[in-house]
Assembly symmetry: C2
């Protein structure tokens, strides 16, 4: 099991998150995601290609291969276990864990992570509702759909939120939407794609399309 630099790991993780399903990732997308410059991305892609972690032909975009995916899942496992630890044991609030885990995830001692996993009782999801890969890199494919796709008047349980900036988390807290919240979409407006939702017996209220796109529910 080779070790990768913090910078390499950040690139690998970002590619994993961006490549979703079948597509490839472009230089600009990645530069934007990592708040770096396209030239830096190209340099790193050459390096990761040389390390055989991704498929990359100049001008054609890139995609993690099997080895790269395995590495990415290891990083995500560390990140999500630390998030769980921070929320569950250290009582960090939901919107603070991501940032701290960004640093902790780069400490890559397998025994540490496996023992942490055991200490935490082998949690299946992190505080945002995202599945945690196991020690072998296996991850539950979460059958989740965005509430923008949810039929009207159907109660569903919030299982995760995708954007993990503290801004969105602050907003969700204000609206009292969290993992496990039961909600129902009452109305959608074509004009701005905003929607009215209801939580339990509380009055109906409005959320923007931008926010709705980041809220997911379990679809089993």
């Amino acid at each position: 099991m080779l070790n990768y630099s913090t910078s390499e790991e950040n690139y690998i993780k970002a590619i994993f998150h961006l490549q979703k399903q079948d597509g490839t990732v472009t230089t600009n997308e990645l530069a934007n995601e990592l708040k770096t410059k396209p030239a830096s991305v190209t340099d790193m892609m050459k390096k990761l290609k040389a390390k055989k972690l991704l498929n990359y032909q100049p001008y054609k975009g890139f995609r993690l291969n099997n080895d790269g995916t395995r590495v990415a899942l290891g990083i995500i496992r560390r990140h999500r276990l630390w998030e769980y630890f921070l929320a569950e044991k250290l009582k960090f609030s939901w919107d603070e864990v991501h940032e701290v885990a960004e640093d902790l995830e780069h400490v890559s001692n397998k025994k540490l992570i496996d023992k942490l996993d055991e200490f935490l009782g082998f949690p299946r999801t992190d505080p945002h509702g995202d599945p945690i890969p196991d020690a072998n890199g296996k991850i539950e494919i979460s059958r989740k759909i965005c509430i923008t796709e949810l039929p009207l008047h159907t109660v569903a349980i919030v299982s995760s939120v995708s954007d993990q900036s503290s801004e969105i988390l602050e907003l969700l807290e204000h609206k009292k939407i969290t993992i496990g919240t039961k909600l129902e979409v009452k109305k959608k407006f074509d004009f701005d794609k905003s929607m009215e939702i209801r939580i339990g017996r509380h009055p109906v209220f409005t959320i923007s399309d931008r926010l709705a796109q980041n809220i997911f529910v379990q679809s089993n």
Copy 2:
């Protein structure tokens, strides 16, 4: 509170440990400690002097000033809290925690460390018996003496071991010497400075001077 690179932190910590009491640290000592080259040490000393963390005149050795000491105590606090966490919560064995903590200590998020401290119940010493600085950088001055200084036939309690290589810890484990062990020096030999010690009602056995110099007991 400024941030320092992993490399800077390793230098600061090493100086702190080497400078003991009143003396200064030399370039070679530090290079040896950090397994680096004297030229690299000189470069870093210029940098740390520019950051006003130490007193340094070319060819005269160096010593942390107040700010440098404060930074060092922060690093040591993080290191020892993680060691405690690893031993107490993750059930790492005594001789494994140091190495893992070497990585974790560089994650320098004050809130993380203060919450970890609280979660652990504000431990006073790490698994090696060394005191943990509090959130303000206060550290108990441990009144400990080396067993080489201990008068004969005086029972004392092992409170810490200084060298934290896995080699010494393996040897201590074999000899059944650990923090809290009650022992008594029965005989010292001038020739090789080896000594015979007794633990509880077990038969007397010999330890080398090299080992003895790393075993400390509380002297209150």
